[in-house]
């Protein structure tokens, strides 16, 4: 389905040798942290929309993929903001000759623009399709988002074509060469960058939920009518949740498309990444932001752990089994804890 960029190069070591090998261990750690950050970013976007509006957004992956496409359009295709600077100024040239290596600053500006467009897309979707459904059964709204997913995904497939769209690497594909054991590991600068951005987003969200709007969102999630009676503009809170969700989706989509070491770019299967992050949401609990982060980390840990150390299993369960591991983890978790680790248990009144 999607390229398994996170799986290390196949080594010839046996299972026990691998388990104690520092080189394999270091690679495992980096891959796990990167994938964990990506899953967490996606899962948090889901959870914020669900928490505030009780809507399960199946179109999240399509928005994420479109976000990656926006980033490509802005940074690589239109070369914004480089094209606006006069020839010879500090920003008019790129990092090197290659179009895929823009300056960090120009790349970040492009990413912010793309995130803004995706946030706008989230707002439009909410106003057009979700707002009219307030008060309808939750399942109907979830199916509406499936409809949104189909048509956004089709549009995405159409604009993306058969060739994947590269995001470029603001760090010029630079890497540290770390001596681990008696070997040298390549650590792309983009890898810690993704992890750091993930952490920053998590901190920003914690701060947001303590701010005025965050408290209003929590109140809305708790009881819409009571929140309205307190003077909270519930409709605006809904819109805000979708805006944040869209922005986070675009961020996650772009990072997925540019994540080292594959640098695969936005391809036709990118919309499905969100379906792989769904298990993270379930494991953490549908309505818990910290749960989404923890869930993303757990699912990524199991996926990368099995991919790194149990690669030989593919002889029995087929190639690319890493992609379905999140779902298996989800099954097991639901059997043990039906509402996830941090989710609120549904209290059913008779």
């Amino acid at each position: 389905m999607s390229p398994t960029v996170f799986v290390l190069a196949q080594s010839t070591l046996g299972f026990w040798e691998k388990l104690t090998d520092p080189f394999v261990g270091a690679g495992f750690l980096v891959n796990f942290l990167v994938l964990g950050s990506l899953y967490s970013l996606l899962a948090v976007g889901f959870v914020i929309v669900f928490k505030a509006t009780q809507v399960l957004n199946f179109a999240h992956g399509a928005v994420a993929a479109l976000g990656a496409y926006f980033t490509w359009s802005v940074v690589i295709k239109w070369e914004i903001p480089v094209r606006w600077f006069p020839e010879g100024s500090a920003f008019s040239t790129k990092n090197t000759e290659s179009i895929l290596q823009p300056y960090l600053l120009t790349w970040v500006v492009g990413l912010i623009l793309a995130v803004a467009v995706a946030a706008l897309l989230g707002l439009v979707l909410e106003r057009l399709f979700v707002e009219p459904m307030v008060g309808e059964p939750l399942f109907s709204v979830a199916i509406i988002t499936l409809g949104m997913d189909i048509f956004l995904r089709t549009m995405y497939n159409d604009v993306i074509g058969v060739r994947s769209k590269p995001m470029g690497d603001p760090f010029g594909f630079n890497s540290w060469k770390l001596p681990v054991g008696d070997q040298t590991m390549l650590l792309f600068w983009a890898q810690p960058f993704i992890i750091v951005v993930g952490i920053i987003v998590a901190i920003l969200l914690v701060w947001f939920f303590r701010s005025k709007y965050g408290v209003a969102m929590r109140a809305t999630a708790f009881d819409q009518e009571a929140a309205m009676a307190q003077g909270i503009p519930v409709s605006r809170i809904f819109a805000l949740a979708w805006i944040i969700g869209g922005g986070l989706a675009a961020l996650a989509g772009t990072f997925f498309a540019m994540s080292p070491p594959g640098f695969t770019g936005a391809h036709l299967f990118l919309p499905f990444i969100a379906f792989r992050a769904l298990p993270a949401v379930v494991v953490g609990g549908l309505d818990s932001v910290p749960g989404a982060v923890v869930g993303g980390m757990i699912v990524a840990f199991i996926e990368i752990f099995l991919g790194t150390y149990f690669g030989f299993l593919s002889d029995w369960v087929g190639n690319g089994f890493g992609e379905i591991i999140p779902y298996v983890v989800m099954f097991v978790f639901l059997l043990v804890k039906p509402y996830g680790l941090f989710g609120t248990e549904e209290i059913r009144r008779v």
Binding site: M1, L56, T154, M155, P279, P338
Partner: protein
Amino acid sequence: MKGFRSRFYTSYESESAILPTRTQKVTVAVLVVLVLLAPFGVIPGMRFLVEEPSWFRILARMFAFGVAGLGLNLLTGVAGQVSLGHSFFMGVGAYTAMVVGGEGVGFGTETGFIGYGLPIWVWLPAAALVPAILGAIIAPAAVRVRGLYLAFVTLGLVFIGQHAFRNMRRIAGDSEGGRGFQALELGGFSFTRSTDVLGQTVHGNAVLFLFFFVLFVIAVLFHKNFVRTRTGRAWQSIRDRDIAAEVMGIPETRYKTLAFAVSSAYAGVGGAMLASLAGNPGPATWDLNLAVVMIAIVLIGGAGTTAGPILGALFVVILPELVEGATGWLANLAKSGEGMGATLADFVVATGPADFGLISVIQGGSGISVFDFNNIIYGLLIILFLIFEPLGLFGIWINIRNYWKGWPFTY
């Protein structure tokens, strides 16, 4: 006209009959006669079917979707359990049919297909039985969770199933081509070859159409009887209020498991029918899109009703044909290049590589392909139906009927 409008049910038997009113009896009888006569070309308005026999394949496809849709309707519409994993069970049914009924090419070798070559009266029930057992096995996990969490569980099934089908080469065939479906025949009579009936040649597609119609009618009867008996009442009470149902002594877990099993059996038969139409369905056939199409059939038709999935299947199968026909017509109009209609059509469709258009009827034109356009229409229709008419096509029919029932006092 006396007593025409005020017809009340006077007994429980008459209310729970398969066809409670005279209007319904007449409508269904007329429809059945029309379907049975259609392959012979004796009805003036339906001659085009005989002249263009590919229509029969399209309608047979509708019956396949209808059978699977009825199954999902039992689970989602009647028992109230959301399932996004219907396409997984359809795939299981299709591959069961192929393993039981298909020829074992190179049986025992590394690259060959597993197949036992048994007749249709073995493989068709097997295509229902194996998914049903699988559904019953999965049900305990699904019964523990409710609502949106259930949607997650069943969605996971689709992805796990995709992986399994892709890796079971000896059962499902190559992920590129898939494996060929066995010939549909019973005791030497082929359902896909032309035959002579009363001195008239009936096209092979029409024979297939009639055979699928028979299967479809059996499925509808079972569906209706499930709904109107003890099982159906238990399912509906679980759907409406599960705690109340339990308090009333309905064993919730057992009935939910039964709903999963029955719905999966329907899916298996529908999947086998669909696979036999497709010829060699690749593992990618049973993906998320198919699951959403099944949901669309139930929702567009009208969840919880028997007529709903039938209407939904008709809609879902005919719509792409209509879109294709419409774009073809627009392309011809644009090529003729006369009048304002041509200008408008030229704006909508792209007929050449350099031509601008929103939809392109050729490879590599500007705008989206007809196939993609169909997908977008699907997505939008699901959204619009849910926003404006939550009861689906059936709800629209109810509105029209109620309008005319009290006419001219329609307020």
